[in-house]
Symmetry: D2
């Protein structure tokens, strides 16, 4: 298939969508983006790259970072981790605190905030120090992206100052003993890894190991086992888009993970990793044009996993 | 691959699992089974069949029937149906009535009971009569299975007499105007299609159209469009096993649908349909040995969609 | 105190409130009332009666009937009843089905619908027949009111036809074995006793036994024990106005019970029973002007129990 | 009535209850009590005092302090306060975070933890400083008790260190902008006023103003208006014992407020204030023998408000 042509067709068809939806505004720092930006990158397992739009413009990866931290934690802990964070869809956002209370502080999955905070907490425990933990996360991403990824300090400080709901989640889990470190250590690490800045080409590159059953196809390094890579993919499919996960599976049909910064990564197993960026969000908090672009992609290519 | 050999290996490895779990006992009629039975059937798109165990013994298909009724309704209604029943995972069983009340009588997806009742209601409306509706459902299954499928009257009467919770769901949805027919008409049709008796070979055959993008590979008849077939598969992956759907995706990695009668169907897109039967259930209400058998199958064959 | 003068003052001050709020319209039959009607009656323990407004116009007593059926059931069953229906406030209406599911079919108190349905069910069981049960309830009210009270058949038929949510509650409780009779028998009895027609003078008279520690002060008949009468009063205070019970206690400060027909009864222990009627309801489903009239009454007289 | 004799009779009858239930152990400092202690004090409006048991032994007042802070805040703010904390019963403890999330950070009433934290926050705002706020609360209690009340530093530090759930509540409310001060300032003040140490005689004395329609009967000082005093009493009746409030109203029939330290205060309007102490708690977190003692008191004296 001519992926460059496909990306260009998508870019053309997506134009009317670029003015719909709203940029995330819960923290001021996220608002400083060009609202109608669009970028899309594909990386094949053999290393070929295809790009359209502002593919070298960096944006806040936000929740996409949860894929990195969960991959690291799953590699380290395996079954121990499953008792602290499950792998079931969570229903809806209204449920976030409800479920957490009813289910005694065990989050539904690592891709909702509560689950990602527990995952980060497990890394702080493993690396024994919050600064080492964030350094290791940064190294993990650098290794995958073959680049040097940085934190946006404004976004980090903004999250740190306004993250009351995340602080509520962490305290509730602490009351059930499912946070092991001082809350500030865990939350600072969590807010930091949400504040990494990356572009679509870098993100597509970092996700290649998940398209290749756990092994980085460019370096041949086994990042995690084949079995665990498939599990992460299944989690992205069932839980990657909050309470629009079913919708994404229904319309796009690929494992994916979105962030409120406007990025979405998606995996075509054994073939490629994709990243799309467009900062305006739909009502569920996922990139509006990004979701449409991925739906167009699977419609055109027939590459849905179903 | 030598599928016959693979099935025989699975049968051998699964023996210790066959004595675990418990047969469904919420209705007396379901208890009349041989508790340690096991069967597994594979049908490839080219018509080849592989079987082990009691593959010609009929059992109550229960919730597997929801795949048939949703396929029929999706063919008839398309987008109209989406406003009456969504396609998102539902969280957990405790939530069933909670979500339904909070979300104003719109069920989360067609594979939880509330959603299947709405789906059945839409068929009763379309066919204008409960007897014609069940006749059409029966014909739909007969056509797919190339066989004559029958209802077990004992199971049907048992469901009809004890289905208070389903009656509660139907009345709650009626109070939100999401049931259009008299409740008894809809529930009788629903309880009847849950009471069809089939064996694993028949069920694997009926699911071939979903493995073949909507077209029955044996007759070349388009049952539904390719796009809708993929959506049904995505729904089976995200919602096919109640609150163990994430677990099934995590461990098996195939679209599937289970029934409390002990059957599970699974789809390998573009390759085959599988059905496994073992009546003892795990704590989530899915066949215990059946789930393990499918996990073994994807581990051995590497045929997970991820 | 000059109660006649007080009632007339209240009637005058309440005029601006009589055009606020909306008449219940969930069943057509309840809409056939004069929207701006107002009536208020006081009966002292010594038999004196004071009235203003249309005190001899009959209206649908609706949930006020729950006081009669709970009094009857508490006399018959005592502690056995407490295990089937509790005596705690229920939080809010959104919770109705939630709590019932979470608390395994045991309603919070006898003054929410679920609790009143269980109470009615206990009477059908005791009297062994739905027709005898409703006859006994009618006799109980006749005896207290010294009058012959009748059911409005239109309202009854209307409830029977549209009561899907009550049917959902009953089926959910039946699934937990907390409804002992066929659902239709219990619901018919329930809908019938909600459809009795009474005026404010009759209702004030019937409530005298609760103002007099269980004994009808006019006939000296002990209707129930002193201890049980106090408990019913406490329940009216904590649970008598659905999720506005706290508001009523806060502003009026008397045990009371409202119905969506527009009536409210209130008790001044050891002194009197009061009934007010005005069919327009506030957002919580209680008579808007009626609530205000009772607040004026305790402000003027200082007769709050606090 | 011979109140001394009545107290002695209660003390005698209550003996078998003193070994039932368990002392609160969620913070270590609360466990350092004599488990079978019992004390009860009555103060009449005319100043007469009756005591039994260890009435001069100080214990942690815990949630009883919520009556003081709410009285102060209601005096200062009136209607403004109602929009930040309601006056409805809350249903059950499981709901605490659920309701708070569903109801957008507005707690149900000032006697659940979330509501008391908002109330304290309003005092910190009014007094502009956390140290002045706690000083003013202390002065308020000193004035009512005619004594010098002190904080137990061990209990305070213990609460501060382990209060993760309270911190979760505060952060959730902050995310809805219903906490106006830095969370630590509000929580420190809250934990401090829960840590005051008082005996039953002091507590009975402090509650006299609520038995006397807002005016301290010993000094004739109006603490709050008559109308507001009645409202506080109504709140104690409907919400004073968490999810056993209905039970307390049902069995005791007096406005009351309990604390997990083992104390309960109760009001007989226009007559007296009562305080009972016994540290072992029932399953709902209220003093087991204390509740029984108050039930005996109203049974013997007939002084229930109903």
């Amino acid at each position: 298939m001519n992926y460059q042509k496909i990306l260009e067709d998508i870019q053309e068809q997506i134009q009317p969508e670029l003015i719909k939806g709203n940029v995330a505004d819960y923290i001021p720092a996220l608002k400083n983006v060009k609202e109608n930006d669009f970028a899309m990158s594909i990386r094949l397992l053999d290393g070929q790259t295809f790009n359209v739009g502002c593919f070298d413009k960096k944006f806040s990866i936000q929740s996409i970072s949860k894929v990195f931290t969960y991959s690291m934690a799953l590699k380290i802990y395996s079954k121990e981790l499953y008792s602290r964070v499950w792998y079931e869809p969570s229903g809806n956002p209204f449920n976030s605190l409800v479920q957490l209370e009813y289910e005694k502080g065990i989050p539904r999955n690592p891709f909702i905030n509560a689950g990602a905070i527990v995952t980060t907490d497990s890394l702080v425990t493993h690396f024994k120090d919050k600064n080492i933990a964030i350094k290791q996360i940064n190294d993990f991403i650098n290794n995958l992206s073959k680049d040097n990824i940085l934190i946006d300090e404004d976004i980090y400080m903004s999250e740190l100052k306004t993250g009351h709901r995340n602080r509520a989640l962490a305290n509730l889990m602490k009351s059930f003993s499912n946070i092991k470190n001082p809350i500030n250590n865990t939350l600072e690490t969590y807010f930091k890894h949400c504040s990494f800045m990356m572009n679509t080409q870098q993100l597509a590159t970092t996700m290649l190991f998940l398209a290749n059953h756990g092994t980085d196809p460019l370096t041949k390094e086994e990042i995690i086992t084949s079995s665990k890579a498939k599990r992460i993919n299944s989690l992205m499919l069932t839980c990657g888009h909050y309470d629009a996960s079913g919708d994404f599976a229904f319309h796009v049909g690929l494992p994916g993970k979105s962030g409120v910064g406007g990025g979405i990564v998606a995996i075509v197993p054994k073939k490629m990793a994709i990243c799309v960026y467009s900062p305006r969000l739909n009502s569920k908090g996922n990139s509006l044009a990004g979701t449409k672009a991925l739906e167009l992609f699977t419609t055109i290519t027939g590459l849905s996993i179903f």
